[in-house]
Structures are given as C-alpha cells and as structure tokens.
Symmetry: C2
Subunit: 579 residues, 2 copies
Amino acid sequence: MDKLFLSKSSVLKSLLLVSSFLVALAVNVSTVEARIRHHKWELKYEYKSPDCFRKLVITVNGRSPGPTILAQKGDTIVVEVKNSLGTENAAIHWHGIRQIGTPWFDGTEGVTQCPILPGETFTYRFVVDRAGTYIYHAHYGMQREGGLYGSIRVALPDGESEPFAYDYDRSILLNDWYHKSTYEQAAGLSDKNFSWVGEPQSLLIQGRGKFNCFTVTDPNSLCDTSNPECSPYVLTVVPGKTYRLRLSSVTALSALSFQIEGHNMTVVEADGHYVEPFEVKSLFIYSGETYSVLIKADQDPSRNYWIQTDVVSRKPNTTSGSAILNYYPNHPRRPPPTPTPARPQWDDADSRLSQSLSIKARRGLGRPPPATSDRVILLLNTQNEADGYRRWSVNNVSFNHPHTPYLIALKHKLTGEFDQTPPPDGYDFKNFDIWVKQNNSNATTSSGIYRLKFSTTVDIILQNANTMNVNDSETHPWHLHGHDFWVLGYGLGKFDLFKDPKKYNLVDPIEKNTVPVHRYGWTALRFVADNPGAWAFHCHIESHFYMGMGVVFEEGIERVGKLPSSIMGCGASKGLGFP
Amino acid sequence: MDKLFLSKSSVLKSLLLVSSFLVALAVNVSTVEARIRHHKWELKYEYKSPDCFRKLVITVNGRSPGPTILAQKGDTIVVEVKNSLGTENAAIHWHGIRQIGTPWFDGTEGVTQCPILPGETFTYRFVVDRAGTYIYHAHYGMQREGGLYGSIRVALPDGESEPFAYDYDRSILLNDWYHKSTYEQAAGLSDKNFSWVGEPQSLLIQGRGKFNCFTVTDPNSLCDTSNPECSPYVLTVVPGKTYRLRLSSVTALSALSFQIEGHNMTVVEADGHYVEPFEVKSLFIYSGETYSVLIKADQDPSRNYWIQTDVVSRKPNTTSGSAILNYYPNHPRRPPPTPTPARPQWDDADSRLSQSLSIKARRGLGRPPPATSDRVILLLNTQNEADGYRRWSVNNVSFNHPHTPYLIALKHKLTGEFDQTPPPDGYDFKNFDIWVKQNNSNATTSSGIYRLKFSTTVDIILQNANTMNVNDSETHPWHLHGHDFWVLGYGLGKFDLFKDPKKYNLVDPIEKNTVPVHRYGWTALRFVADNPGAWAFHCHIESHFYMGMGVVFEEGIERVGKLPSSIMGCGASKGLGFP
C-alpha cells in the first residue's frame, strides 16, 4: 500500500526534529498551502506479465509502474524507500525535480548518493517547486528498465490556473520492454565479446503491452495473452470533454511516436514548462521527456478509438503498443471498428526535427535566457571502442563513474576518488568528419568532471556523428539533472561555432531538462550554473549511459550544506558524516 | 588471472602496517614456514555453459568454480575481492576455516559483515590453522548456486606427513545446477504464492555437467552439447599410482552419491579431520561436507572408467553427473566401453545412515570430547508456514536475519538491531509426533540468537520430523561456522533425552563442521564455545536457509578485538568504526 499522509501542522514539528532540512522546510512554511506528502514504498522483485510474458519485475508496493506521486507546487515530498530486492541495491531519481537546496536527494547512484542496501530504508525528502509533469525511476545500473518507474504530477497551488483549459487530467507512461533481465543485458554490454540489447520485445502504455506469445516456442515460458495483467490500458472519456494527457517516456532505448486515432493533440507543456500551443497528429517523444497534450472527445461517441505508440528513428522490430480511448458509455473492452492506425515513417527525420523546432515557450510566460554565455562546451557524441570494449564517448572520453559519489568526494575534498583532470571542453570541430563511419578504437575512459563557475551561464553544443556502422547515426535524448536549460537551436550537419550561434533563438526558447540530438545533427543549450551540487548530464538511453555516454557538472560545491549521513556508506564515504 | 604472491619477508612489514592483525600474524611468525598467500579476485556476471546451457554465472577471475586456494597449515590467506557484479553485493564464506581471532572475516552477510558493494574491494585475511580440505562460497542471498564457489586445500607443513600414503592429490567439487537465476528462485520462495525451486537441471563434477539440450524447445536459448565448456571433467591417473581425491559438495539442494566405476574408495578425511579408514563403493556426500578418499589406479589400464554422481534422498529428476577417470596413456576423451554404473537406490536410507555411523576419528589422532556438557539445546527441524509464507523453522521459530550484522550489533551493544529474546532451547519432545504430516501454520519469525557462556560445552540435538506432506521427511545437512563439533550419535525416530545420551560415542567421535540429519532421525553434536564471535549454524541447503532454517550462536563477544571498519557500512553500522 502506498501510504499518503497530508499534514500541514506537522511541518513545525518536523522543523524541530529534522534540523538538516531547515532551509527546505522554511520555504514551505512561508507558503500557506504547502503540505508534506508522505509515501512509504517497498521495492521487490516479483513476477509480472506486463506484456503477457511472465518475468521478474522490480515493483514499488507490488506495482510497476509504481504509484503516481500527486502534489501541489511548494509541497514537500517524503518517500521512505525500503529496499527488499534481496542482494541488489537501489537508488531512485526524481526526474525533472531540480532538488534546489537538496542536491543529495537527486537519487543518482555514484553522483549524489551511495546506493540503498537491501534491508535498508532510505528517506528522500525534497520540494516540488514548480507545477508540471515529471517522472521518477531507478538510477542505478540498468534498473529502470527492470520496471522501477512512475509519474509525478505537480499541480498549481489552489486559486492559480493553467493558461489552458481542460476538464480532466491523466498521466500516461510510455515504455519499451525487454524479456531479458537487466543482468543479462548488462553482461552482454560489458563483455569484450560485445552483445547488444537489440530492439525491445514490446511497447508498454501505462505499463501494459501485448507480446505475441505464439512466437514463444519454449513451453516452460509463461506467456499468456489472456492474462489480465496485460489487458490494454483504457482511457475512458466523456463525450465533449477536454482531457489533459501527461505523456512521459521512460524507454530504455526507443524514440516513440504517440497518436490517438481520429484525435489531434495540442501540445501545451514540455518538461514542466508551458509551450506555445501547436497541434500534432503524432507526438514524437524521447526517453526522459514529458509533455502535456490536450485532446477533445469530439468524435463519433458511439465507438472506441485506438491509442498507439510506435518506434521511430530506429528501424522497428517491435509491434505497435496499443491502448483504447473509450468513449463513455461504450464498453471499455470493445475494440475499435477500424484497423490500427498507420505507423509514422520510422525514418522520417524531417518531421521529428520539425516538431523539435515547433516547441517554443508560451508567449508571455517564458523566462528569457541570458543574452550571452560565459563558457561554451562542445560535446561530440561518438560510438567508440576503449580498451577493446564497445563504448559511447563524449569528446572521445567514455564516462566511468566512481563508487564514491561525486557530491561526497567534492564536498569532503576526497581528491583521490575520481580523475581530477576534467574532460575536454571541445574537439577538433573544424576537421572532424561527422558523416563517415567512425573507426574509433581509441577512446579513453575517465571519471573526470566539468567544474563550472558558480552562477555563470554555460552553453552546451551536443554534436552527433556517424556511428561505427556505415550510414548510421542515432538519436540521443540528453537529460540534465538539477537544472532546466533553454533550447537555443537545432541543426543538421556540423555545428559552426562562428555562424550557428547567430541563429540562436533568444526570444522564446523553451526550457527543458531532456532534449534530442537528431541524427547527424546538433542541439544547442544554455543554462545557468546556479544550483550548488554535482549533476549528471547524459544520454537517457539506458544502455548508452551504461556504456559511458554522460558527463558530470559541478557548481558551487562550497555552497552545499552539510550532507546527510544517509547518502554515505560506500567507497571512501564509509564513516563520513558520523560523529 | 589469479595473482598469487608468496612472501615470507613481507610478514614483518605487514606487522608494522596492519596493526589489527598482530595476533594472527604473530602466530605465523613463530612458524618458520608460514607464508602469506595473496590472491586478487574479481567477481563478475558472465555467460557460461557449465552444463551446455548458457546462462549468467557469477565468476571469480572469469571462472566458475573459482581458483583453488593452495596453502600450508599456518599460512595466512589474503584475498582481495573486487565486486564487479553491477548492482549486486557479495560476501564470501571460508567454509571449514574457524577464523580463530578473526571472526569478522567469516564472510557471512548479516552475521559477521556487511555485504561488499559493487565497485568496492574487500580484503579477507585469515590463518588456515589446520591441514585439510575446505571450500569457499558466497554467503549472501542465494549467490552460492549462482556459481561463486571453489576449493581450499591446506597441506601439512614441510616435513610432516599424513597418516596415509598417496602419490597425487586432486580436488573435485560436486554441485547441482539450476537454469533459473537466483533472483527467479528467491522470488518464488519468498512469494505468498509459494513456488519451489524444484529438482536441479543437472549435476556438475568440477564445474562441468551435461544437460540434455534436446529437451530445450526454445530456439533462442543457447544450449549446445558440443560447447567445450561442458566437456566432461577428466581425472587422468597413472596406472599403479594412488590418488587422494578431495571431494566437496556445494549443492544448493541435493544429497549426492559419488562413485568411480570399478574402484573402491578408502575414506581417510572428513571436514579436515582424519577418519579411521573404511572402504566404500559409493560415497554419500551432503552439501557443505568435504572428504578425502584414496583410490588406487589398479584396474585394467587399457581403458577409461566412469566417475559418477547421483541424487539420493530425494526422488531424482536429474540425470547422473558424469566424468572420466582416464588411465594414462589412453585418450582422455575416449568413452569407457561399459554403460554408466547403476545409481544407488535413492531411498536407501539405511546405507546412508550406515555410512554416517562408520565415520570415526582415526585411532590415536582424534581429539577426545569433553565427557559432559554444560548445556543441551534440542533443535526440532520443521517445515512451517509463518504469516502465510512457506518457511523452515527450528523449535517453531523461523530465522530472519537482520541487516546490521550480529557481530557488530553485539560488540557495539546495538540492542535494537535484533530480537533480544533468545529462541527456545527445546520443544515439547515428549508429545511432539515427528511421524505425522505437520500442519504448522503457526511458526513465528525472529532474529533472536543463542547466547552461549564462553568456554562451556554445548550439546546440540537436531531432531527431524515429517514435512507438511504425507510420508515425507528430508535430509538436512547442518553446518556450523567457527567451530568443529564432535558427532556423538545418530538415531532414527524420536530422540530420547534420558536414554539416548547413554549411547553417545565419547571414545572416537569424528569432528566435523557439517553433518546430516537423516529422514525421521536425530543427530547429536557437542562443541566447546571457545571461539569469540557470532556464528551461524544452519541447514546448508541454500533454499532452506533462505527460508529460515538456521540459528546464530554468540560466545565471548567481550573477548572479540576491535572490529575492522571494512565490515561496516550497513544498517546501524553506518559510520561505526570510524574516527
């Protein structure tokens, strides 16, 4: 059971008890409506059949996806996580929550905390300081795709209203799904005899998919299409009403399209920021992104409609994920009378770039970016080999995080715990040919990080390239912890440091925390390094980050308060934080 | 690679560096031959095909079984264990090594140490103070059957000789093997909708078995009987020579028979103690036991012979495990011209009890037990339900170990970390009917332990009973950490506290660390509680211990030296042991 306690009065009591959260709570106390939202979660391995194929899944209180966290802006979320995974540790990241003042509760193993050991309970406590659509998921090894994920929905305070109207609010999580265990996948990726995870077995809409069990030839494998656990997700709508759908993708690998047969969608929010509304038939959504779209139930109410998600950007080898848009009072299980909708062309890169370019801050509600930046960091994304292992690299450095979390090592000046040489700020962008098959057998691995001067403005250019296969470039969704960034521009081909910045959108760029870098393209971002802590920035494709596609930023470490002892206990942090 | 460094001179240097090992090393320094045997191990998940079926296996330096530890009596073994298991912790138990003076290096998660976290290196350091045959294996969750196990062979000091003659010395590990992951097995056992692990898929001799791949119908599963990883183990012998075979069983479940076609075996050692020699055609060996047998290569040298192991005591659903006794110079892969030997009758309980009774201390070399005991503890073994879960219990208490290791909780007086009420010293042995199907839905779970007065003599009576199925009683091999015990007697039926002790063998009882409790029978043990520490005593069937079939003894905790900080970091031990 997900126990949720609301208590306004207990805020003051907690103030006396939990001294290390004084700052965060003080903010709450000043907001009349701020509440403490208290959850008790237990993580377990349980057999589930999300796509009709029975396998071990990491559950939260018996469920995958886990319970949805509902809150209002300014609330404090408290989640007591009990790890009952047997012999395996855990950590949970609150994706999109900037953790201002609580960098130690970002939930990123190796960056902001030691993992939670089996048998132990770790308490996350943080303020949700902005309304919007967020997610949570495991941030340790490849546990996210093991099933540990869920939705966070932060509403405006009472009395405030969104700049768009709707009658009902629904959260829908999209995911891809693999039948191999995360252990099997990780072992293949980290073997010298490299074995790729391959395309997913199915796509899940709100945790439900449909694998074709007839392709399973092993009679011992329990695949049963009549299992109620894999009956399709049903979104019931009342004719004439408008629905806000909060769509989030936590895919391990896949870029997705999402469509609702016969219904256009109006995009109004992205990663917690208001979007100047635009209509789409199909929404492209990358792993780590969240969107709100509005749909109106204004079609023939005598029938149901297909909700469908498909793999794009990679040649699909996975059937569409399907759910039902159910017009009340039709029976929710009544199949739509029409065939499932056509998939978008998986290799239609233009449409995807076009959608990226369409996402602008809502007029009058966007926060303008600083006009100039203090530092520009060019990050070349390449597939590589390093020491004979297949890796992904940034500026030819493949990230290898240490086991004393950076936040602790930095705060306690444990300089021996990671490579003190920062990775390079750029690469030979004049001469590097992004179009040819790379023969990158020469990457280095490093645990070095980027140290940012506090409160400075930083531009990041993510440059894509050809992989180690001919005519192949992949889409990478990059996610920044602890911040939002302004998306200043996208381009195809090689970024030109002298020409392209002149075309940056400084008028109405959207703020986001996750952004795609398109095939053979570049993406330019700007953010202000004003959140003291250590923050991961990485490709949200789980196997890519596992293979080294990420960096870490440090800023204002001297301003970080006393670290809670609960995040310690591993590596050189054994015994730190204890009297 | 298993890096082995021998260094006599470094002993003194280490003395200066590692103050906490002063006592142990001082013993070594006084022994001229004592060496430090230094090993560097890395634990990883890798795909292996031990029985031709490819699955993830926990390897030590790329191998399963791991490297054999070779040492001489009095040597100090140093093993630096690097955990590269991704998201999973580890701990390694040195089975049969009493850890005198180093109770913190017994390697039992939750009892003597916190687990080793991924990315960390833990250094075990202990003295092997007695020649003999021992094993090491994981002691965390169900990792042992994941493949983490190996042999320890301790020779006599130079110049000393065994009370029997042989030309060559060989270690052979026996195991049963499952295709499901330990996660899948553990999830089934700890589900309210209980799912038993079932009989093993194959039996391994020195890590090699042969699963019948033709029964695998899933074309995606990689089962290949021609894989060299599962070619049978070959023991090459020179005609006329005598071989000492050190046989150890680390099975997850199975009691085994072991035979060599056409060759009788003379039993000469059990669990590191000399046995009054006796001959067997088939040796019965239970999980956690080790034996040395002598065989003479005195048969027709023009052919090879079968080595065979079979499941006994449970109705077998597993084919025999086979290996080759290869008479030099026949080709090692040449199959014996005869069919594989007949299996012993699996349900021939008399022969097994008879073998147990035959194992006596070697005349003149056995250490006599104290004539009387200070305390008698009766331990009734039953299958139970507790809170709706299927469990195993001792005196109706199912063991549930805490996540702050007992050794740390006891030494640092963290009384809140486990149940301070000890489990009962007995049960209603007069009225309890061991012969009927039990309807034990009423067990309690507890983390309570037995506190033993230091240096007292303790008798333990292990009493077996019917399970929750009609006409069913299982054989349980009980293993004691930190001690050897004298085996005073075995009996069938109900132990009689007034009559049976009069029949105890106080003349030449064998000392062991693992002993079977036969179906519907009892086994009586005596040991002296003179090794300060906290010690597990449990059924060595991995799923039975997982389901609560164990207890913990404490003795002389006040005499335990300063605990190394490396064993801490979990539960209430976070920060303990640090300045």
